[in-house]
Symmetry: C2
Subunit: 702 residues, 2 copies
């Protein structure tokens, strides 16, 4: 695989489809290369022109002289394949295909796109696009797009699966005076995909923060790997377009209903250190803060203001976002008390009052940033007529520069603040029109710090698995057997196909027992009277057997084709214990997900679940479980005694490993997992699963 360098730092650029007509895209590309100061040679390729914008034209790319290692192609779709071949023969190994009319337009376009990729592969050529607007590197500089305007050089990169979003970023960045390093439009991703581009941008020394607009991933695990590697180096903020299904359509289990593609993205992003922005506004808000300011060491924020109302809103937003007000040391308060007006507030938020000027802001901010209880500062200014907002901007930047703590500003207003904002942005202090948005950015910075501080571990393999037994169980379609082979405890259980067999089984197991219908056609057995619990003697067992069979037959009558009835399981009843659900679903993008939470029949109503990525390390399993209320109950809540939390975590890890090891498992769920008191273990009482292949899909119960 050859390097991405020529995309962002080409030695010479050929524009195939260059035009002298200012209304054509092929004109815009040549214009942008020139206007935005590309320093290498530019080769417009057009058989019907002699020169374009001062650069001599060549009839074909083959005739363009050296150096030339990047082609930008803007010819009609049917002509692109031929151009790719010409480029390949010419020795060009990097092409940006701007032309549309490929995979996005239907079957013919898809075939065209396939041919394009095949041709490129022949020459080991890498292609960005088709159907993209190209790339910008403000430091090289090079701009292969046709979009008017270019952001100033900066240190934020933007990678996008939508060309329009690139145009939005360019216009916004110019208006806001925010610098960018690279902008890359990926188009149809026939060859270069989002994961590769993230990796390339992560290596760019000019980029401090990576932002991305993503509608989907090419390969979930490859994306996660690239994202995590990028996020270890620099902040990665992603806006995900398309909400995805919350809960998969065809499901055989609660897990399927609760862990859809939306949850898969959420889990994958969280796992990989991706900061997920919910809106474009927060994408850019967070990016500025992350690019320009150091990460906070902790969650304690000092708020410095000249007015009460905006500070109250800031405190509300900080607390909502999980941050705290710094307590401030008595020394800081005493120092501020001496210097601020009498009725000023020296508690956090520190209110220096409307009459105070930039000098007092400087004194107070310096004191706050010197205070060891302060991890970050937010400086608020409500509009006033005493001094220029620009003076406050200068002062904030100057004081912030001598402390290694993040400082965010909210110089509020719109009519009076242009100059102040220009100063702040030049000095790398992010400003937010409203203090609530600053709180959101601080929360993102803190989330990144926390992720960086988590151990970067990979799930260790569990070594006491009986792989042979597991493989046999899988071959037999026996989900319970597979879980048992993976070390998950299951209460003693026997299959009975008559009341007499049920009686024998119950005696062998010991009372009390539960009886449960076995039918591949009935998924939620308790809903149809297929489960009877707490049977204390032989008579009760025989009666229950008949009752269950009768209930199952009546279901078959109501629902159409008769349900297959394989018999009834006789299972040891466990006394007491807490009900947990542990499940897995294989997501088409991200592979096996793990779900854990409060179990029982009300799982879907309660929705107290968290979703992660399989396999799970010990700490990943702990963190996942701790994201649910079930974890509070497991630790002992009110009259409920503490239960065997360690056993739950073991079951999570073992089920995750099983789902990971056997890609044929589509869904696998334990509900309830009965968790006994500490040290007494956890038992998989009900197990259901389904295979990946829809044709072979089956639901089986233990």
């Amino acid at each position: 695989m050859n390097s991405f360098d020529p995309f962002f730092n080409p030695t010479g650029v050929a524009i195939i489809g260059a035009s002298g007509d200012p209304h054509k895209l092929g004109y815009g590309v040549v214009r942008n290369l020139i206007d935005y100061h590309y320093r290498g040679p530019i080769y417009p390729i057009n058989p019907r022109a002699s020169e374009i914008l001062g650069w001599p034209c060549y009839p074909t790319v083959g005739q363009a002289p050296d150096p030339c290692d990047l082609a930008v192609i803007i010819v009609p779709a049917p002509a692109v394949l031929d151009v790719i071949n010409q480029c390949g023969r010419r020795g060009i190994r990097h092409a940006i295909v701007v032309s549309g009319g490929f995979g996005e337009t239907g079957a013919e376009g898809q075939a065209r796109e396939k041919a394009l990729v095949a041709a490129a592969a022949e020459y080991k050529m890498r292609i960005i696009g088709p159907n993209c607007i190209g790339i910008i590197d403000t430091h090289t500089p090079v701009n292969t797009t046709f979009v008017v305007g270019m952001p100033q050089a900066g240190d934020i990169s933007f990678v996008s699966q939508s060309g329009a979003m690139c145009a939005v970023v360019i216009d916004w960045a110019r208006g806001a005076g925010v610098g960018f390093s690279r902008i890359a439009s990926l188009g149809n991703q026939a060859d270069v995909n989002e994961a590769e581009m993230l990796a390339a941008v992560a290596k760019d020394p000019q980029t401090r923060v990576i932002t991305a607009y993503i509608e989907g991933v090419t390969d979930g695990r490859a994306f996660m790997k690239a994202a995590e590697e990028a996020a270890r180096k620099k902040p990665l903020v992603v806006l995900k377009g398309g909400r995805g299904e919350s809960g998969a359509r065809a499901v055989a289990s609660h897990t399927g209903a609760l862990a859809g593609s939306a949850e898969a993205y959420e889990a994958a992003f969280h796992h990989s250190g991706v900061l997920r922005a919910e809106t474009m506004e927060s994408l850019f808000d967070w990016a500025r803060a992350l690019a320009w300011q150091p990460l906070p060491a902790g969650d304690r924020v000092a708020v410095l203001t000249n007015a009460g109302g905006p500070a109250i809103l800031a405190v509300d937003a900080l607390e909502s976002a999980g941050l705290k007000l710094a307590p401030l040391t008595p020394d800081t308060c005493a120092y501020l008390r001496q210097r601020l007006p009498d009725v000023a507030s020296v508690d956090n938020p520190v209110d220096i009052l409307a009459g105070s000027g930039p000098g007092l802001y400087a004194v107070a901010l310096d004191a706050l940033l010197s205070d060891p209880t302060v991890d970050a500062a937010l400086v608020i200014q409500a509009p006033q007529d005493w001094f220029l907002p620009a003076s406050l901007a200068e002062v904030v930047a100057e004081v912030a520069a001598v402390h290694n703590k993040p400082v965010l500003a909210s110089i509020m207003g719109l009519a009076s603040v242009d100059q102040a904002l220009a100063i702040l942005h030049r000095q790398r202090i992010p400003n937010f029109a409203f203090p609530e948005r600053a709180a959101s950015a601080l929360a993102a910075m803190l989330a990144r710090r926390k992720w960086l501080e988590m151990p970067a571990e990979t799930a260790t393999t569990i070594d006491d698995i009986d792989q042979d037994a597991a493989q046999i169980a899988i071959n037999r379609g026996d989900f319970a057997g597979a879980l048992a082979a993976y070390g998950v405890s299951i209460p003693p259980t026997r299959l009975a196909t008559s009341p007499a067999e049920a009686e024998i089984a119950a005696k062998a197991i010991g009372f009390p027992v539960a009886l449960k219908l076995v039918s591949p056609d009935i998924s939620h057995k308790s809903d149809v009277g297929g489960v009877i619990l707490n049977l204390e003697d032989v008579t009760a067992v025989r009666e229950a057997y008949s009752q269950i069979i009768k209930a199952a037959r009546s279901v078959a009558v109501v629902a159409g084709p008769p349900a297959e009835i394989k018999g009834v399981l006789v299972q040891k009843m466990l006394k007491g214990g807490q009900e947990i659900i542990v499940g897995s679903r294989r997501d088409p993008q991200f592979g096996p997900l793990v779900l854990v939470g409060t179990g029982g029949v009300e799982v879907e109503l309660r929705r107290d679940v968290a979703t992660g990525i399989a396999p799970l390390s010990l700490s990943q399993a702990q963190t996942l479980l701790d994201g649910t209320d079930a974890a509070i109950r497991l630790r002992g809540w009110r009259a409920t005694p503490a239960a065997d939390r360690a056993a739950v975590i073991e079951v999570m890890r073992r089920l995750a490993q099983l789902a990971f090891d056997y890609p044929e498992i589509g869904e696998l769920e334990i509900n309830p997992l009965i968790v006994l008191e500490e040290g007494m273990g956890a038992y998989a009482v009900d197990i259901r699963g389904a295979w990946v292949d829809r044709d072979a899909e089956a639901t089986r119960d233990t």
Copy 2:
């Protein structure tokens, strides 16, 4: 009570404390009256000046000639009382006290404020402030503030408990080109409070939308009344500063722990038709949309775009906000198919593609607004270089004007859109820099329509209450008796103070029974082993009695002072049924709140509750209950049969009425209310309560 007119439309204004020094507030007020074109006479009052900014000065307000019905007072705090008296003698009945140094500064200031109010009352004078920045009416026009700049005339009012927020609004409005009608800074609210000001602004014919920044209310029920009356006339959007306590500090019940002041504000706002904005940005976003566009008839939105990515974000945000994509009729799709480019999307979102211009936008928007399946339209433009964004702005406004459906725009970008935004704002089309914010505004518009469509009913009195029995029970401190008198069913219950008495009681009631500790010192009895259920015979009852007493004594040992043990209740056990909690808490601001949700011991962990305002009409009770998952279960969920939902609603109404009728009840809670199958009723199995007076606080159990 005299009218508010002279505050917003004075015949003449005296400025006591007027100054010729441009650095003084008293200069700013005179300057603003002049600069912003107040048409009546201006009387600067200052004994040491002969004229200020061209207007002759008077030594005292008594010497100012007629007409003069408004005083703006900006003298040091200790001098304000004397000035108020002078104004009163002069016949002035309206004063705005800008001066600080009153209630906000401690005991001395509070005394000063009290004296001020007393003096004003002598003259039947109304006061805004002290410690405020005054008022603006852009239509009169009059501007009594000292803040530089004034918004253009418009139809949004802003009422604020923070002067700084007024300054923010003024600066923002000027920058954004958004017009305002009235801006009122309320200061300390010594006299005129937020409720009165809302009422006054609601009457203003120039105001179409009221916005407010509120940190607290003077009198909860008066605020609700004023807010609802205002909201019936025009949209009322409130930003609440200060999150309030979520869960009260000292609580005797789950209700106390779950329904704090934050929930009280939420319930009161919802009840009164207040649209609650979470951020300043959304406050202004919503206000523009509500002021400038009609309400949507329903939740079906058409999205018209020139690019895919931004439309996907719009759809995500619309769906998150509870809106839907309009399905479009086949006719509309066919019409669009004929006119749009071949590969354009004629499904909603309608993507006319990057190469299309304002003409095609006009054609498509007109078709969408003509479609009966469309309730509202969102027009998106990603930056492009083919035509001026201003042309699109003109076209959108023109087409929108001939349809009576809301049209919102998101002409995206920052560097290229100034002219377009100016046109849109002039034409009353709200524009949002990012489409997600437009979705939020549409959701607010829809929420308002839904509130307006709800019946504007007041809770009807329940007429079968035994008021005498209730009063007797209240006098005895018997919460269960009071609920029974209000028609709430309670299972047969007897108090026993020995194992023998328990046996007799159980026989009289009939088995099975439950035994429950009675102790005013132990609130959560089941947590300490104070509740034993399902007792089937005499032996079990006697044993349970002893066990409970033993458990209660051991609690007393652990927790310090011995708990008072009054005996054990013997109660009829109900078979099956669903567990609901119904509770009430008297909020210091808003009076009795009602809470309903999933009951049982895990109420606080589960948090499946909704909070409303007592008393409750039938439909209010239904709506409140339907805001919880408990309502789903009551209707029959999975294997759980439908329960007596009507009985729950009756209990809610009766408990709410009781809490409303007896202000001495601080907390009152039924948990669990056991709800039997449909038609079989609901029974208050456990009841706890507490009195308002903390000294007399007691917890009692049935």
